[in-house]
């Protein structure tokens, strides 16, 4: 009998680390992607609005759109992405071992993850916070959860936040920890736990997708943590880090300058010097990244700017119905702030 819970793919990834011969110091991720003709992108196994496959295997979501934008910038084709669904346990090993080129999977940036895993956080693609979902009408604040059983998915920052929150507020909470997110939500909806906790976006996703009557469940307004979610790449390839970072910044900057999927072609003729720089009509910023000058124009044409990606996948018109909130641009009261593309 194998320890099934220690996933096969985790084991395989570990074996890859074990077996791969000592490699050259700086792996040329971009060269490998170009040679392969495909970007390999690690995504969530299924989180509505962020990364989710439909019945014919097409992936969509905010995290998926980012992969498409990177593929458009590097390979000139947003469809040349291979999506590798990864659970919380598998994700870091998969990236470390080279199974994926980039991890775009609602992963919280923390010091220890950034510094000790041999990985880099690219930036924040979604500002989130950990919240609680409870049955409607019972309690109004998370501080009233004393004595409650709370369903959690294992292997996330969530577990520690929950403990910190309970200790700080001097209440007792019983975490019931499941390996799979489906098991955790299933136990919550069956009534085993009085609350389910994860990032607020994840709660909205779960409520829209899995609740029989979404209105019967409320997401408490208090958030107990900061969860800056963003993509990750391996250490040791600074050029690749720069590309992935500036694609994200470029999508945010594009929203600030009003460059959209629909108007990106016309905007190339814009007299605004910053727009000209970004779209490669006046200056060539792409050469600094080892790309051509149309790199960002292609990314925007493929997915739209950050605001469009947000609205299409998780915004108020989607089942998730998340307000823009902290994910608004800096000049609209949010935290989204891209360093200038110049």
């Amino acid at each position: 009998m194998k320890l099934k819970s220690l996933n096969l793919s985790l084991a395989l990834a570990a074996v890859t680390i074990l077996a791969s011969a000592p490699a050259h110091a700086a792996s040329k991720t971009v060269d490998a992607i170009k040679a392969r003709g495909q970007l390999v992108c690690g995504v969530n196994t299924g989180l509505a609005g962020f990364s989710q496959a439909d019945s014919s295997g097409n992936w969509s979501g905010l995290d998926v759109d980012y992969c498409k934008a990177v593929a458009a910038a590097v390979l000139s084709d947003a469809s040349k992405v291979k999506y590798v669904p990864l659970n919380a346990q598998q994700r870091f090993t998969a990236l470390q071992s080279g199974e994926v080129d980039i991890l775009s999977r609602n992963t919280t940036g923390t010091l220890s993850r950034d510094a000790s895993l041999g990985l880099h956080f690219v930036g924040t693609s979604f500002y989130d916070g950990q919240g609680f979902m409870v049955a409607k009408g019972k309690i109004k604040s998370a501080k009233q959860l004393n004595g409650a059983a709370v369903c959690v998915q294992s292997g996330t920052t969530t577990e520690k936040n929950l403990t910190d929150f309970a200790r700080a507020n001097n209440i007792k909470i019983k975490p019931v920890v499941f390996e799979k997110v489906e098991a955790a939500t299933g136990a919550y909806f069956s009534g085993r736990c009085q609350a389910y906790t994860t990032d607020a976006s994840g709660l909205a996703s779960t409520r829209s997708k899995e609740a029989k009557v979404p209105e019967d469940h409320v997401i408490l307004s208090d958030l107990i943590s900061k969860e800056p979610l963003g993509p990750m790449v391996r250490r040791g390839d600074d050029e690749w880090l720069a590309i992935t970072k500036w694609v994200l910044n470029g999508l945010i900057e594009a929203e600030e300058y009003g460059i959209k999927q629909s108007n990106v072609e016309e905007m190339k003729k814009s007299s605004d010097p910053q727009v000209g720089r970004m779209l490669g009509s006046t200056e060539d910023l792409g050469k600094h990244l080892g790309l051509d000058k149309e790199w960002l124009a292609r990314a925007i044409a493929a997915t739209g700017n950050y605001g469009e990606i947000f609205e299409r996948n998780v915004g108020p018109k989607t089942p998730l119905n998340l307000p823009r909130g902290k994910n608004n641009l800096w000049n609209n009261g949010g935290l989204m702030y891209a360093p200038p593309l110049r």
Partner: protein, 394 residues
């Protein structure tokens, strides 16, 4: 590295390709050297790769505080407890379900196995159908099914079923538990002494029977010794009477002791699954005792139950014990599926630790070492039991 030492020379043997012994020695040295070389290659290559990729490694994280809560634990811990404590919590939870599970599975499995020989048609068929159902459904599915059954059918905490001071709900089974004081510890000690005393008594009774042919009562006396010494210990410890009683809180029943639905689902699933295999093992063991043995026992005037106990079962045990050992090992290892239904066993804790620290290889190596140790201990105990049950030629 391994040094090839020349074997002590014997006159009749030589290490030569032409002799059978010589070849086998050479084969073994080559095999051991290549396995050791392969492991050395894996380890150095892994460490090298991890260092090159900036992945921190080592077991130093085990002394850091783990800082996440565990829903059920047999040992105390707090915010600053180290990862060692977390792994110990996981291990004790694994042992709890494994030990209780092994005892229950053995009892149920033995009864089912004997039931297959019942003269009652219904009993025979029920046992048969049970075995066929439970051993043919993957245990993972059984665990999930039991968990769903428990969490879906039991009432919510507000409407917990109450029988006296016990509560049953989706939150688990709650029951009163004595406050653990000196008296309880001494009672436990007394009962342990009682077990030892009973064993000594049983041996002397056996000797007496062998010498004189007169049997002395064993079970009632053993029972008396164990309970008596337990009570004495309790009295010496000041006869503590205090209990904590479960009481309904806002969200759940608090106080007393409890079995969580995760524990119950895991226990029931593992026990019912393993019992079906044990039933088959017991049945085949009994079937292996030839009919002549029963007839011989009957001709000596032994009753049916005495002939089962004194003649058939001791012989059947020799067939039963080895496969029974592997069932015990399986049950222990299958308990690692607990992570699917939220029971904080060793693997579940290791999973969380792995994700908090990113030390995948280290956490997995600890889990593997623990299961290996548990398996070896189980096998050792069972081998010892097997040796004591083996045929003693006189």
């Amino acid at each position: 590295m391994i040094e090839a030492r020349p074997l002590p020379k014997k006159k009749t043997r030589s290490i030569s390709w032409n002799s059978r012994e010589g070849r086998s020695v050479i084969y073994q040295i080559v095999a051991i050297a290549s396995v050791a070389g392969f492991i050395w290659l894996l380890v150095t290559n892994t460490l090298g790769n991890m260092r090159r990729r900036g992945i921190q490694s080592g077991y130093d994280f085990m002394f850091q505080p783990f800082g996440f809560d565990v829903s059920e634990t047999l040992i105390p811990y707090d915010v600053m407890s180290t990862y060692w404590t977390a792994f110990a919590i996981g291990l004790t939870n694994t042992l709890k379900v494994a030990i209780i599970g092994i005892v229950l599975a053995t009892l149920i499995g033995t009864m089912l196995g004997i039931g297959r020989f019942s003269t009652n048609f219904l009993v025979r068929k029920v046992c048969y159908v049970y075995v066929e159902i439970f051993r043919n459904i993957p245990v993972y599915l059984q665990l999930l099914i039991w968990y769903i059954v428990f969490t879906e059918t039991l009432p919510s905490m507000d409407e917990a079923w109450e029988v006296g001071p016990t509560f049953l709900s989706k939150g688990g089974f709650f029951f009163p538990w004595p406050n653990w004081e000196l008296g309880q510890s001494l009672a436990l000690l007394g009962m342990l002494l009682g077990v030892v005393g009973s064993y000594v008594y049983a041996r002397s009774a056996r000797r007496h029977f062998d010498l004189t042919g007169h049997s002395r009562p064993v079970l009632p006396v053993a029972f008396g010794i164990i309970v008596g010494l337990g009570v004495v210990g309790w009295l010496i410890g000041g006869a503590p009477m205090a209990w904590t009683l479960p009481e309904k809180g806002v969200f759940m029943v608090e106080g007393g002791a409890n079995f969580s639905p995760e524990f119950l689902a895991l226990l029931v699933g593992l026990v019912l699954y393993t019992a079906s295999f044990i039933a088959e093992i017991v049945r085949s063991g009994i079937a292996s005792v030839s009919q002549g043995q029963h007839e011989a026992a009957a001709s000596l005037g032994l009753t049916k139950s005495l002939s089962m106990r004194l003649v058939a079962l001791p012989q059947a045990l020799r067939v039963i014990i080895p496969p029974l050992t592997s069932q015990y090992l399986n049950l222990t290892k299958n308990s690692s599926l607990a992570v699917a239904i939220g029971y904080p066993d060793l693997v579940s804790i290791a999973n969380t630790s792995l994700n908090q620290t990113g030390r995948a290889i280290e956490a997995l190596s600890i889990v593997m070492a623990v299961y290996l140790t548990l398996s070896l201990i189980t096998a050792l105990l069972m081998n010892w039991f097997n040796a004591s049950a083996a045929i003693q030629e006189r």
